[in-house]
Amino acid sequence: MVFVLQTACYSGFSPDIPAVGDGDGGMDAGTASSSGDGADGDDASEDELPHYAFTQIRRLSPAEYDASVLDLLGLVTRPSAELLPLDEPDSDEDYAFDNSYEHQVVSAVLIEAAQTLAEEATSALTEDPERLASVLGCTPTGLDDEVCLRSFVVDFGRRAFRRPLSEEDIQRFMALSRCPADALDPDVCGFATQDQEFSSGVDAVIQAFLSNPRFLYRIEEGTPVPGQEGVFRLDGYEVATRLSFLLWGRGPDAWLLDKAEALELETAAQVREIASTMLKTDAARAQLGRFHAQWLGYQQLPFDATLGDRMGAETQALVERVVFDEQLPWSELFLADETFVDSVLAQHYELPAPEGTEPQWVSYGDTGRGGILSHGSFLFSGAVGTVTNPVKRGRAVVTRLLCTPIPMAPPGIAPPDPDASECKEDVLEQHAEASCAACHNQMDAIGVGLEAYDTLGRFREAEPNKPQCVITGDGTFPALGNIAETTTFRGPKELGELMLDSGLLQACAATQLVRYGLGRNIRSSNPAIHPEDLAFTRAMATQFGESGRMDLLLLDFVTSTPFLHRRVVSQEDQ
């Protein structure tokens, strides 16, 4: 089931998920029915929930790999992305996450890079006796200390593979520290922390754990659910792993694995309790920052470290304040009338500088700024060079932040060639012609409303080096979601308010979270989509519309049926 996108702009934009908020606005016919005769036709009503979501095993993303190795060894030698092959990005521009199994391809490069990374990390560990001792957890009395070897394999293996090892596995990994049958010199192959002539057996074991597919992939199996073809209930270890990667961006620690072992992750209520505890950690704060950064597009900060680091900290502070510290409605992310800056960044934004050197919350006053859309981190997103592109900014707002697809320009159409002397707004007027207008009028006009802010988030009144090109900053928000008519706005604060009022921003946040959590692009134009997935996403959006809080959305999601189950496509269907 697919959307025919060619004509989307001519009949108005069609959000993937209906708007939420404004009481009964959630399933407003005006927002839900313009998608043509696609997936909407068979929508299951919410009463028919729960659904089961299709998932596959996922390879750790480079960031998840790094975090997991850090947890296991206490060190990483380099960002693994330096060596691991890059997954192709999704063809949908509004899907921006780095953890999609749909794009994870097995290749020789992947295998070799994983091998190299494992060997590098292990070498670094064995060169640091203190760290090695803490990783081992015991002090071997000699090359034949099988007791210490065994306790290490059992403990390390459980954390590396995210579930206990079988007795057979324990034996297989212990055997790695011994010499092969045709050993050259048995003395060099034992289990030891002292650097023997050829290093020691312990690094052979660690290396084997880190390059094993049970570490590199999140293997899920579960127990078949009677009467539900292809549906499996995840066991406690698998739930712990899903929780951990979603909420912490890394594998489960010993505490969480203990919960699984103690059968404290069996019911939704138990999962909710554990997840609540997990949210009270720094790892959860960092991870929710990563989710927002990937979704909103600010994971690439300005390259100037002076500004880039400060802007990253500014945005992270707002996310943490809204979601964790004060548990405010998530909408406050787009409305906040204060921002967390030090004197350097305050000066950059032309805000009153806080005293001292540490960043503090500073009021925006009547600057027209407000919320995360005012941050340099967001305003830099998608920038090429130092020139703002209002088309791209507007497009990103509609497609990525509001989950509303816009078709690409037809092939063979060259964008207008701007003359150097022309003002940008005059160039954009060429988009208002004929067939271009239907789409461009809407996304360009949003970008124009942000034009008064350059790629580093500085306010300006004219284009650089073109004083005659006065920037009005007057944008127009299209009729989308709960916004019935095109509405004028100026600047990031008013744009944020309109996006919230449309109800699409919250719906999109829930949608993006589900995509991130399931590692798959759930979107109506995806040929692999299943109506149940969309219905589930809508249900999550509705719940988010009611609670308004991101932490509660996370708890609702991790206790949902799709999160606690896996569903596979049967052989015949493939």
Partner: protein, 490 residues
């Protein structure tokens, strides 16, 4: 210490003897039975079109001694220090080509309804000679979204050539990507192979350090860096861990509860692990022949500094590895993606023009100063010239490497260089397409400019395949272009 035999019988941790089909092959040297040097094959891709309304690439004169426009300056006389490699006599320009409309791969005649797009997966159609899938924003007549990023309908030329002339080498093919920063490029794959009926993308190596480690780091160059005993020990340990991993991948893939897609993924993981074991074994037993000398470790990858990732330095390392692989007969084919289709690499530090390549090709540089069209032409010419300069560097290295009495690697190599699009005032130009063919393998007529109106670029690729002894058969395109060979060569 006990003496070690290079010919070790390998046993994995589980005690299973590994099959080692490469061992026999490793006995041979780079010489074929009759003592002749083998042929080698290189494909290179430049992820941008050739320019706007000014063609700075295609010579005016045809035949020998063609004129060198700005983008081809690196072929001319001079020294590498100045980016000149003096190799024009080994490089031919083929112009007037045309990428056909989709999905009509072979015929250049375009129906009125032709979809004039090639962007997505462009490199796959021209290197595989098969029709591309269309852009995902278009739907087929029966309403299916044809999809983006789908593989081509056949393998790329390199893998066909590898099957024909690469048997027995440790690496059937090397696939390198120069455009280094993950933040600056998309559509990064130009190689596909077949496995059964399936066409599979081959991920390329974007890290020079990883490429070195894979090719050189584990090869036995005669004990210059480590004692034989230590190397053997590390080798065995690596094998044991890989053996266990492969065993686990195999066990997992057979679990009934996993979905079919999961099983396929793990099965492929298993296959790749086994192939790595075989490569490591072959490299451990490797015996370097004449001219095959250890290359110094290139060290850490050049960093992405916010503008670029020193793509010039990356290219040099990859070129040295290709040269090494060829002279050591570790591989006979290589693909080099200098930049990906629609890439945003900023070559500013090399060209002086500070903008992403794709941005330049679409002339969407809001805020340019001065004469806009003129400046864009100069910028595009510089961007293409950078790509040609990198390609010329590799050609120069091959020309400087003896390969048999009185011959060099370049005498036994065919190289093709394809840009993403031609040169007309349309960012998506399919016509007025020019490419380069270099090397002297098989009697290629080098150093000439051939204008072959409306010919398919893949036909030229098929000709290069024929030059190195592979069948000139590429997906939907077949048959060599006889005029690209010296008289009497065929």
């Amino acid at each position: 210490m006990k003496p070690i035999s290079r010919r070790t019988v390998l046993r994995g941790a589980a005690g299973t003897a590994l099959a080692l089909p490469f061992l026999d092959a490793m006995e041979r040297t780079a010489r074929a039975d009759d003592g002749a040097a083998p042929n080698r094959y290189v494909t290179a891709f430049c992820g941008c079109s050739l320019g706007h309304d000014q063609d700075a690439f295609t010579p005016n004169a045809e035949g020998l001694g063609y004129d060198l426009k700005d983008s081809l300056a690196a072929l001319g006389p001079g020294t590498p220090d100045n980016g000149r490699y003096d190799i024009q006599s080994s490089v031919s320009v083929i112009s007037g080509l045309r990428i056909p409309s989709l999905p009509y791969s072979e015929t250049p005649t375009e129906p009125a309804t032709a979809i004039d797009t090639f962007h997505v997966g462009l490199q796959a159609p021209i290197f595989s000679g098969t029709s591309s899938h269309t852009n995902s924003f278009y739907v087929s007549p029966d309403g299916d979204d044809i999809g983006n990023g789908l593989p081509p309908q056949g393998p790329t030329s390199q893998y066909l050539v590898a099957a024909a002339i690469g048997a027995g080498t440790v690496f059937p093919a090397l696939d390198y990507k120069i455009g280094g920063s993950s933040a600056t490029s998309i559509r990064g794959c130009m190689s596909y192979r077949t496995e059964g009926d399936e066409v599979i993308a081959v991920a390329n190596v974007a890290s020079p350090q990883q490429a070195y480690n894979s090719l050189v780091g584990q090869a036995n160059f005669g004990g210059e860096t480590e004692s034989d005993l230590r190397r053997d020990f590390l080798f065995r340990r690596r094998l044991s861990a890989l053996d266990l991993a492969a065993d686990d991948a195999s066990r997992l893939s057979r679990r009934a509860g996993l979905g079919a897609a999961d099983q396929r993924r793990l099965d492929r993981h298993f296959t790749e692990l086994r192939e790595l074991e075989l490569r490591l074994t072959a490299l451990n037993d490797f015996e370097p022949g004449a001219g095959c000398e250890l290359l110094a470790d290139p060290g850490p990858n050049p960093a992405f500094d916010g503008v670029w990732a020193n793509e010039s330095a990356r290219a040099t390392t990859f070129h040295e590895l290709v040269r090494l692989a060829f002279i050591c007969d570790l591989s006979r084919t290589a693909s080099l993606m200098y930049s990906a289709a629609q890439n945003l690499i900023n070559l500013g530090p090399a060209t002086g023009y500070n903008a992403g390549i794709h941005t330049l090709t679409h002339s969407s540089g809001f805020g340019a100063a001065g004469n806009y069209a003129e400046q864009l032409n100069a910028q595009m010419a510089a961007v293409v010239a950078w790509h040609v300069e990198q390609f010329a560097q590799l050609i120069g290295m091959l020309a400087d490497t003896p390969d048999g009495p009185d011959t060099t690697l370049l005498d036994h190599t065919a190289l093709v260089f394809l840009p993403e699009g031609g040169s007309v005032p349309n960012a998506h130009a399919r016509g007025n397409y020019s490419m380069l063919v270099a090397g002297h393998a098989g009697g290629l007529a080098a150093g000439r400019h051939f204008r072959i109106p409306d010919e398919h670029p893949a036909r030229v690729v098929a000709t290069a395949m024929a030059a190195v002894g592979a069948p000139a058969e590429l997906g939907e395109i077949s048959g060599e272009l006889p005029q690209l060979f010296l008289p009497g060569a065929r």
